[in-house]
Point group: C2
Chain length 448, copies 2
């Protein structure tokens, strides 16, 4: 929706508008925009204009509604480029590292998503939870069953959210009722693409789980899908932990390293979201950079499963920069909150003597993740024509935050308090295409 | 209060009583006690009896009050053996490692605690926050100003909480108005001990901050205080990060390692809480074990400041076991919640290929930390005569927890959900000496 043909706004959101139109690690402070009393005007779910409230209020028709969030930060909705829809009841499963964790906890849970009723019910929870945390777009793995992707997209369509998702392709190293075949995974993915990709705000992500659970024939099929549907995302996992890497190499002995497996089948490209990417060699990073592939870091998961520490600085090497995403990886991750995810990202980098400034962090979960998903022309910023997905943040939402904010003097301090102490309570409201979308949690019942 | 002379109970708490009377890492499942419909009967703030509600209800007089928490876990109040009262507005300070963090953020903030009004006001917040998180006992560093310790103890006395605290002794390497002298720190500590140690539930902790900020003369004075008041705790910091270790060794060139500094001045004993203890050598661990000193791990802080990973397994070596505590270390730490602290402890151990079972974790923050503080005869368990400090936990307090609990089948799973996903919202109520003590947070105002 180019601004030249923008219709007259019918609604607006007022508050401390804050967004990025460049990367603060490259462009410095000029990358960020802050309007203390700002107005975002909206028509038909899209941004019409962004500016000072004092000026823009005059452009609104008399019957336009204005959501008043003065005092609160108003940012583009958060984007989570790696999590698993069928793992909401896997979170907080005790005591395993990746491969054992998959077998002991994850696969038994994902089996349940063959049932469309179970999938539909949990999709409601999943969207409630994401929106409660201010996440309006995500790249999502469904189970291997087409039913799970159907349930996911149906719920996303109901919510009006921009989501990318795909049924997992997985034809070995998992329970019989959880696996597909190279042929069926190709056919089922193809059918889902035909039905859902580009329907409203829904996007398809071709989703071979990882090299261990796919035969060469299936990776071949995934590569074919990617060639045939070049506007779909590809998402997979790579170099998460040592045992996984060793086993992947054993299963693909002809490939020199893990990255070479995905290269061989045409799965490392500019639309590829490569989950984890922890233990890449310098040569693999160079090839990621050349291919334009995105290394998606999942800090709460990497700590929880003891997988290792994502090397941000190495990725950002300006001589061969690797694109970065930051994600929750529910259910290996331990929080749906992108704020909590930033807090753990900061800790992962501190352990390596690296820094994550608050602006770089908030850029990462808005414009940065939009870039990672190739959606920067639609979401992740406030610009005319942008889809009006918005999160409203209260930096004093909890007692501890309000107390700490008493001494915060700068926006950077405020942002750092939000990412260090914040969780879903800091999300005052979430808007999807301009409509309020955060459901309040009803008072909880007792446990039993 | 031996049970033989226990008065008749006047109140009771009903719920899923859960506590330890041994260490599950040594005694296995027999260490834990669970009574699904249990009753804790209380007289004058002390436990009279613990058992099945069906039996014990009959022992209550007709006018006794029964707090009904059926369905919720009821545990001994949490114990936090290392945090800093004057650092509640230091939390979430960006970008530094230990020594820079002290100079840039912490010392300027601690300076404010020379003002008794500021100290008294923030003491109210501090106790509100601890009790909201279910923490009923802590070992606390005040600032170097006696005023801060006065404010702390006065508030603790008002709340009726069992606390150990001390004014920090610090006579160099800090701003002029923040330091004392060897002589004044001895005199002021001595006066505070005379006034507060053993008054009601208050206990004094002799608190030389660490070797870097104390001259040899001050450590000598701290050692003298410890000899003269052998029933006081000693608390200090050791081996938190590499730069600190190197500087400490430089300041005490005659000592072979960091531990030797505290040994030299008689500060490594069975009443010593040694904060952090991350980078100890095997020889230092052996001497900790012989001395009976406690290594207090502060996982959220150690990750936030990038200090390093606490080696639990090495401490637990049965040939020379080192006593362990687990603490928040506010304001280097990022959460007041002992549940969130356990979550990070788990992650710290996962990164090292070590495990922290849920029972070991909950033991650590109740009976384990009571043992660390030498208070196991008074708190940390449910036994006749125990002080009735209690935390009531709702495992389904948030949407994400309630959803996850749908599939939890065992107590261990429930405990692990609580520690992985829980925060102050999971604390349904906190009792101090049998009295409800959790203040509800009023609806928050907007940030600005």
């Amino acid at each position: 929706m180019p601004s030249s043909q923008a219709p007259s706004p019918t609604q607006a959101i007022r508050g401390r508008l804050f967004w990025f139109d460049a990367d603060p690690e490259e462009a410095g402070d000029a990358a960020a925009h802050m309007i203390e009393d700002g107005l975002l005007t909206i028509a038909e779910g899209h941004v019409v204009a962004v500016g000072e409230a004092s000026a823009l209020l005059k452009t609104l028709p008399a019957d336009a509604s204005v959501a008043d969030h003065r005092g609160n930060l108003v940012m583009p909705g958060f984007i989570d480029p790696h999590l698993h829809f069928p793992q909401t009841q896997v979170i907080a499963s005790y005591g395993a590292k990746l491969l054992d964790w998959l077998n002991a906890y994850t696969f038994p849970e994902e089996l349940k998503y063959a049932d469309p009723v179970h999938a539909a019910r949990n999709a409601i929870f999943f969207f409630d939870e994401l929106l409660a945390n201010g996440t309006t777009t995500a790249a999502v793995y469904c189970s291997a069953h087409p039913t799970s992707a159907e349930a996911f997209f149906a719920e996303s369509e109901r919510r009006g959210t921009r989501m990318a998702a795909g049924k997992v392709m997985m034809d070995r190293e998992a329970p019989p009722r959880l696996i597909d075949t190279a042929e069926s995974s190709y056919r089922d993915s193809k059918a889902l693409i035909a039905k859902w990709h580009g329907r409203g705000r829904q996007l398809y992500a071709i989703s071979p789980r990882f090299a261990i659970t796919s035969t060469p024939a299936q990776l071949e099929a995934a590569g074919a899908l990617s060639r045939e549907h070049a506007d779909c995302l590809v998402q997979t996992h790579i170099s998460e932990n040592d045992a996984e890497i060793a086993y992947a190499k054993q299963l693909y002995p002809e490939c020199a390293d893990y990255t070479a497996i995905y290269e061989k089948y045409g799965l490392l490209g500019g639309n590829s979201l490569m989950g984890h990417s922890i233990h890449l060699s310098e040569d693999e990073r160079r090839r990621f950079s050349q291919a334009g592939a995105v290394a998606v870091s999942c800090p709460t998961s990497n700590l929880f499963l003891g997988s290792g520490l994502f090397d941000w600085r190495a990725m950002r090497n300006p001589e061969r920069p690797v694109r970065i995403g930051v994600a929750t990886d529910i259910g290996g991750g331990t929080s749906y909150s992108m704020l909590a995810t930033l807090s753990e990202m900061y800790k992962v980098l501190q352990l390596q003597g690296q820094k994550l400034p608050a602006r770089a962090a908030f850029h990462a979960i808005t414009r940065g993740n939009a870039l990672a998903m190739g959606l920067e022309a639609k979401i992740g910023g406030f610009f005319p024509g942008a889809e009006a997905d918005v999160v409203v943040l209260n930096s004093g939402a909890t007692r501890a935050m309000a107390h700490r904010m008493e001494t915060a003097r700068t926006l950077d301090e405020e942002l750092f308090v939000l990412m260090t102490l914040g969780d879903d309570r800091a999300v005052e409201e979430t808007y999807v295409m301009g409509a309020p979308a955060k459901r309040r949690l009803a008072p909880t019942a007792r446990t039993r």
